[in-house]
């Protein structure tokens, strides 16, 4: 039996020489991983590096081809999710595995309902127990509430409560903060700290370096399915970490701010939407400029920009293009005038995943490839290959489905779609969400190039550092209003946060 004790840290999970092949790719090649008691162990790597595959092997969703897994020192074969659960391994996935129309309590004890002597469900016991676990993660909503009525953050806490009720010693978080607001992230981190103190081991997958540094103890880096190394986060410089991930040096101080913007081409005045999430948005964009929009999740950034392009009903306010007021009642009105919005949710609001790349790119601009009334394959190919080349979209050919691309390349496909329809005003909503470090830099460079070609670019982002690296000016939103617009010289993380959280513009 192999119980390795390093200092006083007991090893909860040890994975040795794990390999996994999918048709056409070696997803993992002899990867080692070790999780100790009371540590937060970050898994870092670009999309497709193999983090998810590794975690899925541990949680029983995939089966390994090679290698050994030890849990609490015992060699185990994890064949299915149920077995992982019995070994005390729980996963908090990005897409939650909760049943929307069951109550919080029912979800916590799904498949493990308490029963009375007569074989009926013991509701009192179930509610009481659910309450106990929900309290322990600071989830204040009623245990009888339907999951469908919970916010994203609340659902996540409920998943954690469920993991605790299973007495899981190993808890896997897969990009837990992707859709949380600042406050919610803070609360989550507090919970993670207390889980740590109880001696549980946390596996934490994330792309955000800031939060990795805040919450993580050790970090294992994967690249292209290979094990690169494990480091102590406190004693490693951020630039070294990035180099491990990217396999080359990435200069984080490099700026992508477009030079010499021109005149104002696009204005929004006093915009207000029907759902009240946007109460007063006023801003303007110059050609050749990147305007950032900062603000907490839920501050109305997305809704405001959707309102601008007619994807959200506007009740008040003006949209002015080249000094002429326009009305976009539907997205196709905006498209016709050269205004395009690229959603933060690439998969459900951007791409048609079942369609190939070619058709995805030309979706908004089919008129341009019509010849005498019929679609011309030749013209379409020309357009598409031009953008695949200029945006460096990595794909075997343009007939592969959009679902087969990595996040960064999917984003580029959407950029290509926006460019193919000759739009002048480009609105990017979280263009780098879920994209790895190297691909992010590429996207920044593309945004800069677009602006310098004369487009007016609006970039919504929750990551303040990237706004500071890309934007000529940054508008800050709070509770449905633009509360400040900062020039690049006056913008700083502190000031942006100050306005986003409640300061008033002077």
């Amino acid at each position: 039996m192999e119980v390795r004790v390093t200092g006083e840290d007991r090893v909860l999970v040890r994975m040795k020489g794990i390999s996994k092949r999918f048709p056409g790719v070696q997803a993992l090649n002899k990867v080692d991983f070790e999780l100790r008691e009371g540590e937060v162990h970050v898994l870092l790597g670009e999309n497709g590096a193999g983090k998810s595959t590794l975690v899925k092997i541990l949680s029983g969703a995939y089966r390994k081809d090679e290698g050994e897994i030890f849990v609490n020192g015992d060699r185990v074969d994890i064949e299915n999710p149920r077995q992982a659960m019995e070994l005390g391994i729980a996963t908090i996935y990005q897409e939650f595995s909760l049943i929307p129309f069951l109550s919080a309590a029912e979800n916590v004890f799904l498949g493990r309902e308490f029963s009375t002597r007569y074989g009926l469900i013991d509701w009192r016991m179930m509610y009481k127990e659910a309450r106990r676990f929900m309290d322990s993660v600071g989830l204040k909503v009623s245990e009888k509430r339907k999951v469908a009525q919970l916010s994203v953050a609340e659902k996540q806490l409920l998943e954690i409560a469920k993991a605790l009720s299973l007495n899981s010693r190993v808890i896997i978080f897969d990009e837990p903060t992707a859709t949380l607001s600042g406050e919610e992230v803070k609360h989550l981190f507090k919970i993670v700290q207390s889980l740590k103190k109880e001696g549980r081991g946390i596996i934490y997958i994330s792309h955000r370096l800031e939060e990795i540094e805040e919450v993580g103890d050790r970090c294992t880096v994967l690249r292209d399915g290979e094990y690169i190394g494990t480091v102590d986060i406190k004693s490693v410089a951020r630039s070294d970490l990035i180099e491990m991930v990217a396999g080359r040096t990435v200069d984080l101080s490099k700026k992508f701010i477009p030079k010499s913007p021109g005149k104002v081409v696009f204005r929004v005045k006093g915009l207000k939407t029907t759902d009240r999430k946007v109460s007063s948005v006023t801003l303007d964009v110059r050609e050749g400029e990147i305007l950032g929009i900062a603000g907490l999740v839920g501050s109305g950034r997305t809704e405001a920009m959707k309102g601008v392009v007619g994807a959200e009903r506007v009740v008040e306010g003006e949209v002015i293009l080249n000094n002429a007021p326009i009305e976009n009642r539907y997205p196709w009105d905006a498209l016709e005038k050269g205004i395009v919005y690229l959603s933060e949710d690439r998969k459900s609001e951007g791409l048609v995943l079942k369609m190939n790349i070619r058709h995805n790119i030309t979706l908004s601009s089919l008129d341009a490839v019509v010849e005498r009334g019929f679609l011309s394959t030749k013209k379409e190919q020309e357009v598409v290959s031009k953008y695949i080349k200029s945006l460096k979209i990595k794909c075997p050919n343009d007939k592969v489905k959009a679902s087969s691309l990595s996040g960064g390349n999917q984003q580029k496909v959407l950029v290509a779609r926006a460019l193919a329809c000759k739009s002048k005003i480009l609105i990017f909503d979280e263009p780098t969400r879920g994209i790895d470090v190297a691909a992010k830099e590429e996207i920044y460079a593309i945004l800069q190039r677009l602006a310098e070609m004369g487009h007016a670019v609006i970039m919504i982002s929750s990551e303040v550092p990237e706004l500071l690296r890309c934007c000529n000016r940054i508008a800050v939103m709070r509770e449905g209003k633009v509360v400040a617009i900062l020039d690049r010289e006056e913008a700083s993380s502190e000031r942006i946060l100050h306005y986003a959280l409640g300061g008033v513009a002077v």
Partner: protein, 311 residues
């Protein structure tokens, strides 16, 4: 070996049709005769034509349950117009337009009214059938001018004219699907409606378009069926909705939308027609025919699923 398996896999439905033809040819001496093969084509043609519209609808992620009832409604309207002396060309046009009317209402309620397609077309199924019964108090109509029956019984070089109608509809259907914007949008809408809307496409318009096409072709089938039978009955077209759905699904069109095609649907319709014809020649009682056909439909979808998960 693997190569062969792969070819069989990607052309599974063609092989299935081929196998059926081979098996039936051995089992019955009547099966592989020119007369019988032509008969299969004619028998399959009406389902095949209506299935083009059904495929359009299913591609958008919808479903049209009103196909059979619209066929009956159009048939009764056709019969009534004929006996009251409306010129035949006009009858053909107006008969088809009754289908367009139903399709338009279906489409508008589904896309603009946001009522689920299943519910709207289920309602339309009942309304159109009821309408067909009410128009002539449930009685069949016959005694048409002699020229009308010609549009069904005519044949060119020994090939029944219905085969040509089917070909024409499929050629136009294929052009719409792969060479016009509308066709591309059908795939996009079925693949991801919200993304398509945000990409600046008038989703509701093109969704309605699919139901209008389904209605138009159902109406046309009503006219053709009336010509073939040389009488009109409010009970005609029964089960057409399910046969057309079956043809599309056997042909590889995904009920969740966004994937599929017309060639598959045509082969699917032929497969159903061949199966019915062959089983009848073998004197299989119709009860058992239904059981076999049902199993084939489920088997086809199961096969598609297995193929996909192995990819």
């Amino acid at each position: 070996m693997n190569r062969i398996l792969n070819v069989v896999k990607s052309y599974g439905i063609y092989f299935a049709l081929l196998m059926l033809v081979v098996v039936f040819s051995f089992a019955s001496e009547w099966f592989f005769t020119v007369d019988n093969l032509m008969d299969i084509l004619v028998q399959s043609s009406l389902i095949a034509i209506a299935a083009v519209g059904q495929t359009f609808v299913i591609l958008t992620g919808g479903i049209d349950l009103s196909v059979g009832s619209i066929v009956a409604f159009s048939s009764i309207c056709t019969g009534m117009m004929l006996v009251s002396g409306v010129p035949i060309p006009l009858v053909i046009v107006l008969g088809s337009l009754t289908g367009v009317a139903f399709g338009l209402v279906n489409g508008v309620l589904i896309s603009y009214g946001k009522i689920p397609a299943f519910i709207v077309t289920l309602g339309a199924m009942s309304i159109a059938r009821g309408g067909a019964l009410a128009l002539n108090s449930g009685r069949p109509i016959s005694g048409f001018p002699p020229g009308f029956e010609k549009i069904a019984s005519y044949s060119i070089g020994g090939i029944p004219v219905f085969v040509f109608y089917t070909l024409i509809v499929y050629v136009i259907g294929l052009i719409v699907m792969y060479k016009l914007k509308a066709g591309r949008y059908l795939f996009a809408i079925g693949g991801n409606k919200q993304a398509t809307r945000l990409a600046g496409i008038n989703v509701r318009k093109y969704e309605t378009f699919a139901y209008v096409v389904a209605g138009l072709l159902s109406g046309l089938v009503g006219v053709l069926l009336t010509a073939r039978l040389n009488y009109a009955t409010p009970l005609s077209g029964g089960g057409y909705e399910l046969d057309t759905i079956a043809a599309a699904v056997i042909g590889g069109t995904s009920l969740s939308g966004g994937e599929g095609g017309l060639i598959g649907t045509l082969v699917g319709a032929l497969l159903l027609g061949t199966l019915k014809d062959g089983l009848t020649l073998l004197n299989v009682v119709s009860y058992y025919q239904e059981i076999i056909i049902g199993s084939v439909i489920i088997g086809a979808v199961f096969y598609e699923r297995a193929k996909k998960s192995s990819e």
